[in-house]
């Protein structure tokens, strides 16, 4: 019976996206309930204070000035968030321990809320694709270096999209590491934490890919054309990029996806089935 874990428990398929959503909803619901309870408790305390210390006005006048610390809006591994800013924003980063914090400022240097963003996870290689909208400038080398300074990160590189104000960063994770993204407001901050995950053996994943090409307009156009299919960009060991689609269990599944894609678009987009390991950067 000791093999039960292997035979059954470890084989239970985990629905990643729906699980992510219920966790986020659970956290939001819990936050609301906690706030309600605190509010009820505070209201009772204030009432008591008013009754007991009615003449000591500085006491509760001071209590109103307690600063509110930045509040977490959401935490996710994949998904989206943020809000549309009134103008394009700049992004600055700061690394500490196992986290990188991104903050956003207006052209005047004022702190801005987190702009719209999305995060995707892909497996070959294991990576996080962070796409930020409404950004005024490309991610700097300094920003990318913040990510590569993390223990759990193998490499980080920019992505290119057709929309000039969309900026993307792909963060390739080392085997056995995961990334969680927390969004805060006041000031708007995205915190990416790279932590050790449940240990798993590297696995082979199948996907569809384009031929390798330089980072540029062709790559951006193909990525955007396949945006609804979940296209991402992968940098090869020799510094070129290709567009990748899907994480499939087998070559047959990848071939079926290729046929479905060609039927949908009515033409071949030059994508072909390929495979790779979760812990290896493709050679070419």
């Amino acid at each position: 019976m000791e093999t039960f874990k292997h035979h059954y428990y470890d084989q239970i398929p985990v629905p990643d996206d729906p699980l992510e959503q219920v966790i986020e909803k659970g956290l939001r619901r819990g936050t609301r309930r906690r706030a309600m309870r605190r509010w009820a408790s505070s209201a009772a305390t204030v009432l008591l204070l008013l009754l007991v210390c009615a003449n000591v006005t500085p006491l509760y006048a001071g209590a109103l000035e307690i600063p509110v610390l930045r509040e977490m809006v959401r935490i996710l591994r994949i998904g989206s968030g943020g809000q549309v800013p009134s103008a394009l924003v700049s992004v600055q980063g700061d690394a500490e321990g196992s986290t990188v914090a991104l903050q956003f400022t207006s052209p005047k240097g004022e702190a801005m809320p987190v702009p719209p963003y999305s995060a995707k996870r892909r497996l070959a290689p294991s990576r996080v694709v962070l796409r930020l909208h409404e950004i005024g400038e490309e991610p700097t080398e300094q920003l990318l270096n913040l990510f590569t300074s993390m223990e759990g990160v193998a490499e980080a590189y920019p992505n290119q999209y057709s929309t000039a104000s969309d900026q993307g960063i792909t963060i390739v994770l080392k085997n056995g590491y995961d990334c969680a993204i927390s969004e805060y407001e006041t000031p708007g901050t995205l915190v990416l934490e790279f932590s050790k995950a449940e240990a798993t053996a590297p696995q082979t994943v199948y996907y569809l890919r384009s031929k390798a090409m330089p980072l540029g307009s062709d790559l951006a156009a193909l990525t955007d054309r396949l945006a609804w299919e979940g296209a991402t960009q992968v940098r090869t060991q020799d510094g070129k990029y290709f567009v990748a689609l899907g994480n499939y269990h087998s070559q047959a599944q990848a071939e079926a996806a290729q046929a479905g894609l060609e039927a949908k678009f009515g033409v071949s987009l030059g994508l072909f089935p390929a495979s790779g390991s979760t812990d290896q950067i493709p050679a070419e």
């Binding site: 019976m1 000791e2 093999t3 039960f4 874990k5 292997h6 035979h7 059954y8 428990y9 470890d10 084989q11 239970i12 398929p13 985990v14 629905p15 729906p18 699980l19 992510e20 219920v22 966790i23 909803k25 659970g26 956290l27 619901r29 819990g30 936050t31 309930r33 906690r34 309870r37 977490m72 935490i75 591994r77 995961d178 969680a180 927390s182 915190v191 934490e193 932590s195 050790k196 995950a197 449940e198």
Partner: protein
């Protein structure tokens, strides 16, 4: 409070697969397991001030998932569907347990009450030690052992009866 809300969320993220699988063992269908995890995450956050030591986060959170699953079973009077959502293929024989026996035992598990199921899930599905089980169930280790053996005896009868 032993950990902040942010740290809580991060710990939940890193143990989400295990929490889901534990919930799934009780209800054996995806939607109910997701509901249980969502509710447990919410309850955990509400009760975060009760967690005194961060080292016990895992056992504390597992306890919340178990209580939520048992409450879910009671509320919905669920009888898990035996043949739904089994892994598509079970691995070949290993250490004397054939896939067929695994399925038998898996199905026999449904005949146990919710709290009895907890002992089997913790011990054989999650491979918890008796000490960890005692912490999660908040019982003396000896009690956990004796209850588990009693449950195994009962399961054994179920399996024998099926084979006959």
């Amino acid at each position: 409070m032993a950990i902040s809300k942010t740290e809580y969320a991060q710990r939940i993220q890193s143990s989400r697969s295990r929490l889901y699988r534990t919930a799934f063992c009780y209800v054996k269908n995806e939607q109910d397991a997701l509901d249980i995890v969502g509710e447990a995450v919410c309850k955990g956050l509400e009760a975060l001030h009760q967690l005194r030591q961060v080292e016990f986060f895992d056992t504390w959170m597992t306890r919340i998932v178990i209580h939520t699953a048992l409450s879910h079973l009671r509320k919905h009077a669920l009888r898990p569907e035996n043949n739904e959502e089994l892994p598509e293929s079970l691995p070949a024989t290993e250490a004397g347990l054939t896939p067929e026996e695994s399925i038998d035992l898996y199905q026999a598990l449904d005949t146990l009450g919710g709290s009895e199921r907890t002992y089997v899930i913790l011990r054989f599905f999650e491979e918890r030690s008796f000490r960890e089980m005692a912490e999660i169930l908040n019982l003396p280790e000896a009690t956990v052992k004796s209850r588990l053996y009693r449950i195994l005896k009962k399961l054994n009868h179920q399996l024998s009866a099926r084979k006959e």
